[in-house]
C-alpha cells in the first residue's frame, strides 16, 4: 500500500480543494457562517479521501474496501436530511420563506456534490496511477492540479442550473386597482381593504409578467414551490418591505388560469425595475418542479403545443 500513499494524499487533498471551489456562498446566504464551511469542507475531504482510496484498494485486490463506498453513500444521504432540517427550521422565521421545495433542492445539491467529489477524486486517482505516477513529485502535483482545474471548469459549466430566463419572457407590468382589487396588467392578485395599503401599492409596488415560452415551461411555472422560490429570491435581493403585522405587503406570484402566465407583485425596498427583472431571470428552475408534458403523446396532441 506504501506505493500508493502519495497518490492517495495528492488526490484526496485536490478533491478537498475542489469541494472548496464549488462551495459557493452567494445571495442564497447559505452557508455564510464559518461552521457551515467547516462541516461541508470536512465532509468534502472525507468524500475525496474515499474516492482516492478506492482505486488503489482495487489494485491491491482489497475488495472489502469497496464496501466502504456503500457506507459512505449512506453517510452522505444523511447530509441531505441534516441540511433539510436546518433550513426548514430556519425557514419558519423568514418573513418571505424559501419554501419546502427550494430547501429540498438545496439539500439535494449538497448531497450530490459529495458524490460528485467522490467521482472526481476517483477520476484523479485513475489519472495519477495510469499517467502522472511516473513523473517527479512537482510535475506530478502540477499535472493533477491542472486536471482538477479542468474538472472544476467542466462542473461549473455543464452542471449549471437552468434559470427562469430560459423558460419565460419576462417584462414589466402595470400595477393598478379595480375597486379594492390589485392587478398587474390583467392578472388579479388580491383584494385589499385598507386605503393606506392601496396607496403604498400604487406608489411603491413593482409588477412583472412572466410569459412561458412552451407548454413545458407553463407546467413548470405553475408549481407552487417554484413560485415561492421566485418571491423569496426577489425579496432577498431587492429588500423586504414588510413586517409580521403587515402581511398585506407579502410579495405574491399569481397565475392567470387561462393563459398560464405568471404575475409577480412586490413592494421592494428599492424601486428598481431593471434589478427586479435581473433577479427573476436568474431564479433557478427547481428540479422537482420541472415537468415535460411535451414528451408525451397526449401532450403533443394539445392545441397549444408548438415544436
Amino acid at each position: 500500500m506504501k506505493t500508493y500513499f502519495l497518490s492517495i494524499v495528492l488526490t484526496a487533498s485536490l478533491g478537498g480543494i475542489l469541494r472548496l471551489l464549488i462551495l459557493r456562498s452567494d445571495y442564497r446566504q447559505y452557508p455564510t457562517y464559518p461552521h457551515g464551511y467547516i462541516s461541508h469542507l470536512s465532509l468534502g475531504f472525507i468524500a475525496a479521501a474515499l474516492g482516492a482510496v478506492a482505486l488503489p484498494a482495487l489494485l491491491e485486490e482489497e475488495f472489502v474496501a469497496v464496501t466502504f463506498l456503500a457506507m459512505a453513500a449512506q453517510q452522505f444521504r444523511e447530509i441531505r436530511n441534516i441540511e433539510r432540517e436546518t433550513l426548514a427550521s430556519l425557514d419558519s422565521i423568514e418573513l418571505v420563506p424559501r419554501g419546502q421545495h427550494y430547501i429540498e433542492g438545496i439539500a439535494r445539491t449538497f448531497e450530490a456534490r459529495n458524490f460528485l467529489i467522490i467521482a472526481c477524486a476517483l477520476a484523479l486517482s485513475a489519472l495519477d496511477l495510469a499517467f502522472f505516477r511516473r513523473y517527479q513529485l512537482p510535475l506530478r502535483a502540477a499535472g493533477l492540479a491542472a486536471a482538477t482545474l479542468l474538472i472544476y471548469f467542466l462542473i461549473s459549466n455543464i452542471a449549471g442550473d437552468k434559470r427562469l430566463e430560459h423558460l419565460a419572457d419576462i417584462r414589466q407590468g402595470k400595477v393598478h386597482f379595480q375597486g379594492p382589487n390589485v392587478f398587474v396588467d390583467d392578472i388579479h392578485f388580491m383584494n385589499l381593504g385598507l386605503e393606506e395599503a392601496k396607496e403604498e401599492y400604487l406608489n411603491k409596488a413593482l409588477g412583472l409578467v412572466l410569459v412561458p415560452k412552451t407548454i413545458d415551461a407553463a407546467a413548470t411555472l405553475a408549481n407552487i414551490g417554484q413560485r415561492q422560490a421566485i418571491v423569496h429570491i426577489c425579496a432577498k435581493l431587492l429588500g423586504i418591505y414588510k413586517d409580521v403585522d403587515s402581511p398585506e405587503f407579502t410579495p405574491l406570484v399569481r397565475r392567470q388560469i387561462k393563459s398560464g402566465k405568471l404575475g409577480v407583485l412586490i413592494i421592494p425596498a428599492t424601486r428598481d425595475p431593471q434589478a427586479l427583472i435581473a433577479a427573476v431571470k436568474r431564479v433557478p428552475v427547481l428540479e422537482g418542479s420541472v415537468s415535460k408534458p411535451s414528451k408525451s403523446h397526449a401532450g403533443r396532441e394539445r392545441d397549444d403545443y408548438q415544436d
Binding site: S89, S92, G179, L192, G193, L194, A197, D245, P247, E248
Partner: protein, 69 residues
C-alpha cells in the same frame, strides 16, 4: 421550537359601516364592529389587521373583513 397556534383563512373580525350593519347576520369567528363613517372604518380595520396580523379585505358593500392567511 416555537409553537404558534393560529387560525388561517378565517374571518377574524368584521368592520361595517352603520348603514351596512344589517348586512351582517353573524360575525363568523370574530366580532362585528360598527363604524360611524368610512374614516373610522378604515382606522378600525387597520388596527385590527395589525393586532391580528391579518389582511383587511373590502367586500365593497360597506363591509371590511380581517382574514389571517
Amino acid at each position: 421550537m416555537i409553537i404558534k397556534t393560529s387560525l388561517g383563512k378565517i374571518v377574524l373580525a368584521t368592520v361595517v359601516l352603520a348603514e351596512a350593519s344589517q348586512l351582517v347576520v353573524s360575525g363568523g369567528a370574530g366580532p362585528v364592529y360598527v363604524a360611524r363613517d368610512s374614516q373610522e372604518q378604515q382606522r378600525l380595520a387597520k388596527y385590527l389587521s395589525k393586532i391580528t396580523e391579518g389582511v383587511a379585505h373590502d367586500l365593497e358593500n360597506g363591509v371590511l373583513i380581517i382574514v389571517r392567511h
